[in-house]
Amino acid sequence: MITCRQLTKKYGSKAAVDAVDLTLEPGHVYAMMGPNGSGKTTWMKMAAGLVRSTGGEILYNGKPIGVESRRHVAYMSTEPYFYNWMTARDVGKYYQDFFDDFSMEKYEKLLQRMDLDIAAKVRTLSSGMMAKLKIAVTMARDAKVYMLDEPFNGIDLLARDEIRTCILEEAAADKVMVLSSHLVEEMETIADWAVFLKNGRLVEMRDLEQMRSTDHVSMADRYREIYGHTEG
């Protein structure tokens, strides 16, 4: 569904993403792993069509990422992107104007399930509530690809549980889910594949259950092997 070949993004002489070959198939939850600066966010932004590559190509169903693909890709960035004066309902309306596949009904259901008041002002939300709001508004789209950048960052255990359930309920055979996080433990059980990026390069892509059966290592172990003991 998403294929990239030698995908590269350079800022000046520095490559944020460096000659990455990768294919993501529907029906899977991919964990994009790597410390800060490894290229996770830049890769996601290219897949979302928000950042242009400077080399190689990235395709959605065989066609270059662009206006058409953007309709099928739901992306949640790490930056807060709502105005403080907005209520949760306003956030939904804002999304409804932007995206044809946004369902207000689904959004309300998700808010309710995550115990968020639709009348609450963005300004009054705690970081955990804000994280849940971002997830709800992203998942309320009927997209084919969901990319969530750091969905578990900086929030408490209970909010993490709720977000995890929400993600798992939306994962389906015809959808691609990409989650980035440096909270490795949080991703162990929900992802079935891990993509390890280091300094913008793809180190490897692993089937996690297979890795556990054959190598008896967890994603955290592999993470340590790849990123530990060496500089950045």
Binding site: G27, H28, V29, D161, R164, T165, L168, E169, A171, A172, E185, E188, T189, I190, A191, D192, E209, R212, S213, H216, V217, S218, M219, A220, D221
Partner: protein, 131 residues
Amino acid sequence: MNYDPMKPIWLQVATRLKRQIATGTLAPGAKLPGGRELAAQYGINPNTAARIYQELEREGVCATSRGLGTFVTEDERAVQSLRREMAHDALEQFLEELSGLGMTVGDAIDLIKREESNNDHMQTTDEEVRQ
């Protein structure tokens, strides 16, 4: 549920479900949650959840009827053999532990007998005290 991330997740959840079937917490013929529901309930990937039912079916402790869902087997013999299998696993683990402490199977049997007679003795003294 707490997972050991070094062991296959499907195996850990399948073991938990098998234990529930063996102990009767999940009764013969009981309906199990759908794959997606199981995934959400256990916080696991949906493909992992599907794998769990595949394995349980292969082992004959569950059966899936198209359109109806997955059910615990009603075959009492299958549940019994599951119980034996789990008892065997527990025994093996126990013997391995004792062997690590330098004990033989004979020592283990002595130990069990002594433990049993101790318990019996304690029960009798309890009764004597009550009288």
